[in-house]
Amino acid sequence: MNPAVYVLVAAAIFGIGLHGLLVARHVMRKLLALNLMLSALFLLLIVVPASIDGRPDPVPQALVLTGIVIAVSTTAFALALMVRLFRRQGHASIHPDLDPTLIGQRRATKRKEGDR
């Protein structure tokens, strides 16, 4: 059992998840990326502490177990919010050029540039 391998794997998954979070427009993709980052940190939390006579340390195990349950409940709540957002807004994407308030401003700035 070589912890170093898992630390690097956890770091890689954290990076991939963060990239997905920054890049994705659809809210559910952001949630998937967020859950990836969570799993990476849970992996880190379990691998880093030294194991006690061969068995992993029970205290981080209990913390991560609580974390997994809370991650599921927050994901469920976020999904409910997403469905409501979709119903109100017509699409479930968060991106500057899809945001109605920003579109108004951008059109105004375009008009100003056009007049110059």
């Binding site: 070589n2 956890a10 859950n35 799993s39 609580t66 409910a80």
Partner: protein
């Protein structure tokens, strides 16, 4: 190059490969499929690391429930507006890539340096192992969860309840009576339900019972109950309903009440938690938590305030 290292490398490769596919998958449906496979691979990694409680929880909650919840939400999007539901696309900016690489580097350095530190003598884990026999429990994780950090578990049950209340308020008029039923009706499903649901509840009770001495416990048992609930919802045996019955509301609050009593009573009387109440009280509190976790997650899958019998 011993075989253990080879196994770790392969597991790591599979995990990272799945994570890449989750993020770079062109379709949303495909990303959800790979996220469930990622949950399965995480369960394998937890088993390999010897953290069996986490393998149980991640298999049931990470792969099973989260996947089912995401598919249910995805299906609601499709029902509302098929075209919009799937347009996602993403702006691949180089900046995001740079930030991701730097973050990964940061996490790697934190992990590696923390690993190099030798653990202090009074580390909590060692103390747990020494004090475990006093509580009469065999499984250290359950010991930590219920005996020493019982308050943490109480707060967690409150978080679960709040998440459900929030989801219920937000999805107020969103649920449709048959929104969770699978879009086909096969005779196969009825026999499936008849075989799996009783077996799932039996396995849930089994996991609850062995929880105090072996890996298992209220969370894992509750998620198996929730999986059975999801199956009933998928096959139309249970249907989402606008109002929740008194029994259901009791079931939702049971968990917080159970763990609250188990934690606060000893705290008020100032005696050590488990030694005073004994294993019977622990089992009672855990079964109440199991029931409420099962009800909460099933209702979240249904996305509705209550449930009603679909067969009548």
């Amino acid at each position: 190059m011993n075989v253990g290292l080879l196994i770790d490398l392969l597991l790591g490769l599979i995990l990272v490969g799945l994570a890449v596919q989750v993020v770079l998958g062109r379709q949303l449906f495909r990303s959800i499929v790979f996220y469930v496979a990622f949950g399965l691979a995480m369960a394998l990694v937890w088993a390999r690391l010897g953290a069996v409680d986490l393998a149980l929880a991640d298999a049931a909650l990470g792969a099973g429930l989260t996947g089912a919840l995401m598919l249910a939400a995805f299906r609601r999007l499709i029902k509302l507006d098929p075209a919009q539901a799937v347009t996602s696309g993403s702006a691949h900016t180089a900046l995001a890539l740079l930030i991701a690489v730097l973050a990964a580097g940061m996490v790697a350095t934190i992990g590696l340096t923390a690993m190099a530190l030798e653990s202090q003598p009074g580390a909590a884990g060692v103390a747990v192992f020494e004090a475990l026999p006093a509580t009469g429990l065999g499984n250290p994780v359950t010991g930590v969860l219920l005996a020493w950090r019982g308050f943490d578990t109480l707060v967690e049950m409150v978080v679960l309840l709040t998440a459900f209340l929030g989801a219920r308020v937000v999805a107020d008029e969103g649920w449709a009576p048959r929104s969770t039923v699978a879009s086909f009706d096969l005779p196969l499903l009825r026999t499936l339900v008849a075989a799996i649901v009783p077996l799932a509840s039996l396995i849930a009770l089994y996991l609850l019972w062995i929880g105090s001495d072996q890996p298992g416990g209220a969370f894992q048992a509750g998620s198996v109950l929730a999986a059975a609930g999801v199956l009933l919802l998928l096959t139309g045996q249970l249907l989402p309903a606008p109002t929740s019955s008194a029994w259901l509301r009791l079931g939702l609050v049971l968990g917080v009440a159970g763990i609250g009593l188990l934690v606060l009573l000893p705290m008020l009387s100032g005696r050590p938690p488990l030694a005073w109440l004994g294993r019977g009280a622990l089992l009672l509190a855990e079964s109440m938590m199991m029931v409420s976790i099962g009800c909460t997650l099933t209702l979240m899958f249904a996305g509705a305030p209550g449930l009603k019998d679909g067969t009548r």
